[in-house]
């Protein structure tokens, strides 16, 4: 029986093949993991700044927040718009559209395969961090870890759906990835990657709660770091964004496929 076009066999085979595919790019993925050290850079900036006191986090808590932000980012990074754009332009999308499986599942599997490949590199970087900052070491409880994993997975789902929405615009504009670059700046500021949201003025903080960005990094990072956080509000907001984006993606996708002219095919 298939649910949303999937069954256990398709999931197993698709994930297996995409993991094997991503392993072929392990060196590149290791560099991607390394290039995600922005939270550590921001940590060093904040650590040496007088403004640190305004963040509401003490030394160890700040270390843990930025390490958690790094880990959450590692497992919620999304690149579907670039892959989709390339597939559409090179005509690789056509065979996918002619198979009885929604093409987005292939991209989901590719992302999960990439995350699995990235796991040891991210773990190594985290281990190096603890070697340099041993006082920041902590082991979250099993419950905390599961909640953080769920929050990170939902952050990935929001980011994936948000980018799929932009990717679906490829059916109208061949270079939809430009829009993705446009949203990167608010993401950078409002997600908590540069600073915990507590660092922002209350008005900005309140406004950011109406965007998906805080739920992509700040919320799951706080859950992982074991900091006080309103779990109900956080998971509720994540669920609401998924519930909003999912039908929107499917609707735009259906309209886009009707328009599709198999560019380059």
């Amino acid at each position: 029986m298939r649910i949303c076009g999937l069954n256990r066999r398709i999931i197993r085979v698709l994930l297996g093949s995409q993991y094997a595919h991503m392993l072929e790019y392990r060196a590149e993925i290791a560099l991607w993991a390394l290039s995600g050290v922005l939270p550590f850079i921001m940590l060093s900036v904040w650590s040496g700044s007088d403004a640190r006191s305004g963040l509401g986090l003490d030394g160890v808590a700040l270390d843990r927040y930025f390490l958690s932000a790094f880990l959450v980012r590692q497992f919620s990074v999304v690149w579907v718009v670039y892959a989709f754009e390339e597939d559409a332009l090179l005509g690789r999308l056509s065979p996918y559209l002619l198979q009885p499986l929604h093409p987005l599942w292939r991209y989901v599997a590719a992302h999960l395969g990439e995350q699995l490949t990235r796991l040891p590199f991210a773990a190594l970087i985290a281990a190096l961090f603890f070697a340099v900052q041993p006082q920041a070491f902590w082991l979250p409880s099993l419950g905390g870890l599961l909640l953080a994993w769920l929050a990170t997975w939902m952050a990935f789902a929001i980011a994936f759906l948000f980018q799929s929405l932009i990717a679906a615009l490829c059916f109208w504009s061949e270079k939809a990835s430009a829009l993705e670059r446009l949203q990167f700046i608010p993401f950078l500021f409002l997600s908590g990657l540069l600073a915990p949201l507590t660092a922002f003025p209350p008005a900005v903080r309140a406004m950011s709660q109406w965007t998906p960005f805080p739920y992509l990094i700040d919320f799951p990072a706080r859950v992982l770091a074991g900091q006080p956080v309103d779990l109900l509000a956080g998971f509720g907001a994540q669920l609401a964004w998924i519930a909003l984006l999912l039908p929107l993606v499917l609707m735009i996708w259906r309209a886009g496929v009707r328009r599709y002219s198999a560019m380059g095919a």
């Binding site: 197993r12 698709l14 093949s17 090179l90 690789r92 056509s94 559209l97 328009r259 599709y260």
Partner: protein, 324 residues
């Protein structure tokens, strides 16, 4: 199996003048025009038929194929393939068709074809045992062996195309849309793919619609051809009838014992070439036997050969002359 009635497709295409001024004008006021890629095309294809789709580049072949398999929505007209409206792309329809495009690939580039075949088997709901049997059968027909366990990027173009065919046919589709399946292959690989397609059609009774730039593909596989030009259908019938229509003359090649003056061939068809003892004449079909008898009677003939001119030349010439 395939019914097409009044099928049309109109694209809106942006127009931009060259240079900076053109770019600025295009940026401020984008101008578009409508391009008719396919115009009022109608035909029927019965189950099991192999039909060739001929036409110059940009004639509308690929656009028609994409509408038939549901990739593009028609601007007007009706299409039924295997009892389905293709543009709805229902799973049941997608299980019954396949599209192979010679220059595009569905196989994962860095993995062996076998990995992509396993994915296809799962997606189409083919059990492991049945998938194994089909892969073995198709691999035998395509002469593929260890290539299936080598990364796709390490395969030659011919091996890759054969693996693509295997992936496209694993679910045993009833309708095959083949767009230039032998493009870029060497002569041997082309012949192998042709043999395979003929054998697949014989074994499964699949319906095949094939476009190709290589006339040998069409002549070897397709008793019936559709000829399309500037989006309009100009011929639908046997290949021989098209050849008769396109080529009212036959080509006679002579090798003589000694050279003869051009005047000597007056009244014996059109002299196309006279190079020493080698002569090439175009003779009206209805006068062929009389002219050949006269040639043998009048000249010291060492060798004589009668054939149709290459059909690529005929089609190209016909379009150049504006006869269609």
């Amino acid at each position: 199996m395939i019914q097409v009635e009044g099928l049309s497709k109109i694209y809106r295409v942006a127009e931009k003048q060259p240079g900076l001024a053109g770019t600025l004008r295009h940026f401020i006021r984008r101008r578009t025009r409508n391009v008719t890629a396919v115009q009022n095309v109608s035909f029927k294809i019965e189950p099991g038929e192999m039909v060739g789709f001929l036409g110059a580049n940009g004639a509308g072949k690929t656009t028609t194929l994409k509408m038939l398999c549901g990739l593009i929505h028609p601007s007007a007209g009706e299409v039924q393939v295997a009892g389905h409206r293709p543009q709805r792309r229902q799973a049941e329809f997608l299980r019954r068709i396949t599209l192979v495009m010679g220059q595009k690939q569905q196989l994962l580039w860095d993995l062996p074809p076998m990995d992509s075949l396993r994915v296809n088997a799962a997606v189409y709901g083919i059990s492991d045992a049945v998938a194994r049997r089909r892969i073995n059968e198709l691999a035998d027909l395509l002469e593929l062996g260890e290539e299936l366990t080598r990364p796709v990027r390490k395969l030659s173009l011919g091996q890759r195309m054969k693996a693509e065919l295997l992936a496209a046919l694993l679910h045993e589709p009833e309708v095959l849309f083949l767009d230039e399946p032998t493009l870029g292959l060497d002569v041997n690989a082309q012949a192998r793919v042709r043999q395979f397609l003929a054998e697949y059609n014989r074994r499964t009774g699949a319906t095949v619609l094939l476009t190709s730039h290589y006339m040998a593909d069409i002549t070897a596989l397709c008793p019936r051809v559709l000829l399309i030009h500037q989006g309009r259908l100009f011929h639908d019938g046997p290949l021989e009838a098209l050849a008769d229509q396109l080529a009212p003359e036959r080509e006679v090649r002579l090798e003589l014992e000694s050279a003869v003056a051009p005047d000597a061939f007056a009244g014996l068809g059109r002299l196309e070439q006279l190079d020493g003892c080698d002569v090439r004449l175009l003779v009206p079909r209805d006068q062929l036997t009389t002219v050949v008898a006269q040639l043998l009677d009048r000249f010291p003939v060492r060798d004589l050969d009668v054939s149709d001119p290459p059909i690529e030349e005929l089609i190209g010439g016909l379009f150049r002359q504006g006869r269609v």
